[in-house]
Symmetry: C2
Subunit: 409 residues, 2 copies
């Protein structure tokens, strides 16, 4: 196996340990990855990244979602640069805010309006607040194990969280209509809204697309209660469908939370909603120092233009399917059985008989040493910066991964 | 009075009304300002801004804080550009995260470590979560009327907020030691922390600097309870003192929340803390899609370098005092009595006998028509992009404002 140089990364980790709690925080902490993964990165181009030691990788995490049309996409960078030369963070928004809101209303099936923020968590939290404001009710239905952000009401960790932070959450099981109905019953006459991920993409589990029955039931139940159906599109948004991830199901939400890919890596999130929630959206108080920043909005207008014009969801579904087919064939050649779940644009690859993730870890570590950045437990991401040649090269590297996984058996 | 052209702004407002709830949201909504204020901006240079109709203003809101060393400060822009050509949002932070954390630990009196986020609200919320994680307690003491962000636990509005979101807040009065002691008593053995703004900068009230007695009492009470003292530096940070706003008082907090000016308008916030909270900070879960973005961090390193090297707090205190002295003299010439409160770097100007803000409104509207952007109720901001000539020009324009205010009597 190729030996990756990690001198600079190691030196930075030592320095970081002193001035950052445990050297890093959150989902980008390398401690959660196999031991050979780098913590620090220096560069990105299209579908490739370089760590601080100069090692190059074909990247299937895409910054955990934000990179959708390729790092340093020339059209996005040009739009951002043009806005930057004018102004970014001023005493109010630029003309580009109106252009971006108009584009979302035009593109997104259910959207009659939009507002803009910075984090995905801002958007999910604002959806919940709008739902409560509009209904005057309190209970929010959340799928067990779903990730909707990293503040006390929804964080995957309970450290520093009080019971009251989640006092009005009720839980159902994704794709389980009965459990949804039971949760609605438990909410009684206090149902404020239902929040659901675009698809089930829980960490370290097989992914599940929503069934049409489940999607329709969620819509029907929300309508019956006059409570908004909220789709959390933060992770999936603009990768599966330009008009919203549930469009192919024929089910439209009342509110959606968007972030990650919306501006191809520039910090931006958005809430879109239907007309009946416009008043509530204007009555709640949500704001942030940088939320009117014009540069990320210019990047978003350019990104969404590319997504529509180039049919990016279809393109990355094609690339993802190439990867998926190639991994399937190769896993069999090595006598291994893998489960590839979720949409081809956001694949999760898990090994059978691998409760301790030893095979997945060995696979990813060996692929990394051969220039491909996979993730052993989390869903991955394709971007339109990837090429057929990248997929081919990644598949060749995957053979080292499968060989290592077979040895880890 | 000069007549400002508002054709383009009006057209954009009409378009925005259709696709954004009430046309804009949050603190940058022009509906909260006198009628002549623009909603949309196109450009910023040093201490000046231009609206979308090309009207130019000397700007004393500085994007409500973020603009500290002047729009498009060449050193900041060059550092950001250098990082941008490498990469921004990747699968982990860049080397610049370590540099920035080291700089904060070096500069900020109490800081043993730092972590980075996007919104001021991210930072205040994380401070509260760390406090609860470290102590295993729940009650947070908050000053009545203080602004600590715009999510349900701290939002100035209760629309869409449930009682449980604030179940563990107890209130005291800023600068009132007795009220703080009473709140501590009410917390019993469940005190998790005390949060306090760097100074009292409540909307539409005279500002108050903390008294040494109050600051020392807060420190003593926090120590006695082994609960962190948290300073919310989001608004004041790096404008009053490079090492923290309470350094001149000789009182250091355990945690501080920073944002706004930290990267001169690039979206960034930070939490700094003392060693005893390092473990809790690494145990809570806080993360965001763009929190490791390297470009805002590069901008922050450059901004903080300038702040220290050029003694920016002292420079803008000098400019703010020029403005304050000039406004005082001129208000008297017009037979008006004004109250100028808070630090010279972040002045609030309120008129006596002006319960309905008619004088303040007339003053600001006339100043605006003469090329100066003041705020009638909120604290304002100086930046080192301002020059003595800007202050002189602003004072000349203020005479139109005072004349209008005198007529509004």
């Amino acid at each position: 196996m190729a030996q990756l140089i990690r001198t600079h990364d190691k030196a930075l980790r030592t320095r970081a340990e002193k001035v950052v709690p445990s050297g890093m925080w959150g989902h980008l902490h390398a401690a959660k990855l196999p031991g050979n993964y780098p913590q620090f990165f220096s560069r990105g181009e299209a579908g490739r990244i370089w760590d601080v030691d100069g090692n190059e990788y074909i990247d299937f995490m895409c910054s955990w979602g934000p990179n959708l049309v390729g790092h340093k996409n020339p059209e996005v960078e040009e739009a951002a640069e043009r806005q930057r030369l004018m102004g970014d963070c001023l005493n109010g928004p630029g003309e580009v805010m109106v252009e971006l809101a108009e584009r979302l209303v035009d593109m997104v099936g259910h959207a009659d309006w939009a507002l803009f923020q910075k984090n995905g968590t801002d958007a999910t939290t604002t959806c919940v607040t709008i739902a409560r404001a509009a209904t005057g009710k309190r209970k929010i239905l959340v799928a067990k194990g779903a990730y909707h952000g990293a503040v006390p009401w929804c964080s995957p960790s309970l450290v520093g969280v009080t019971a009251e932070d989640r006092a009005h959450l009720l839980y159902y099981t994704f794709n389980d209509v009965e459990s949804l109905e039971a949760a609605v019953k438990a909410a009684g006459d206090d149902l404020a809204g239902i929040i659901v991920s675009a698809f089930r993409h829980d960490f370290s589990f097989d992914q599940e697309m929503p069934t049409p029955e489940f999607a329709r039931a969620a819509r029907r139940i929300a309508d019956a209660a006059s409570a908004p159906l909220i789709i959390d599109e933060v992770r999936a948004g603009f990768r599966l469908h330009v008009a919203g991830s549930w469009e192919p199901l024929g089910v439209r939400p009342d509110l959606s939370a968007w972030s990650k890919a919306i501006a191809n890596g520039y910090a931006l999130s958005a809430v879109t909603g239907r007309d009946w929630l416009r008043k509530a959206a204007s009555e709640i108080y949500a704001t942030g120092s940088f939320w009117a920043g014009a540069v990320p909005m210019a990047a978003a207008v350019a990104t969404l233009k590319i997504v529509e014009r180039d049919s990016v969801p279809e393109r990355i579904a094609y690339l993802g399917q190439l990867l998926r087919d190639g991994l399937e064939t190769r896993s069999r050649q090595f006598g291994l059985s893998i489960r590839q779940t979720g949409p081809a644009q956001m694949p999760t690859v898990l090994f059978d008989d691998d409760a301790d993730f030893a095979k997945g870890t060995a696979f990813c570590d060996a692929a990394l040493a051969n220039g491909v950045y996979f993730h052993p437990k989390h869903n991955m991401f394709l971007c339109s910066g990837h090429t057929e040649a990248d997929i081919e090269q990644a598949l060749a590297a995957s053979e080292h991964g499968f060989a290592a996984a077979a040895r880890a058996t």
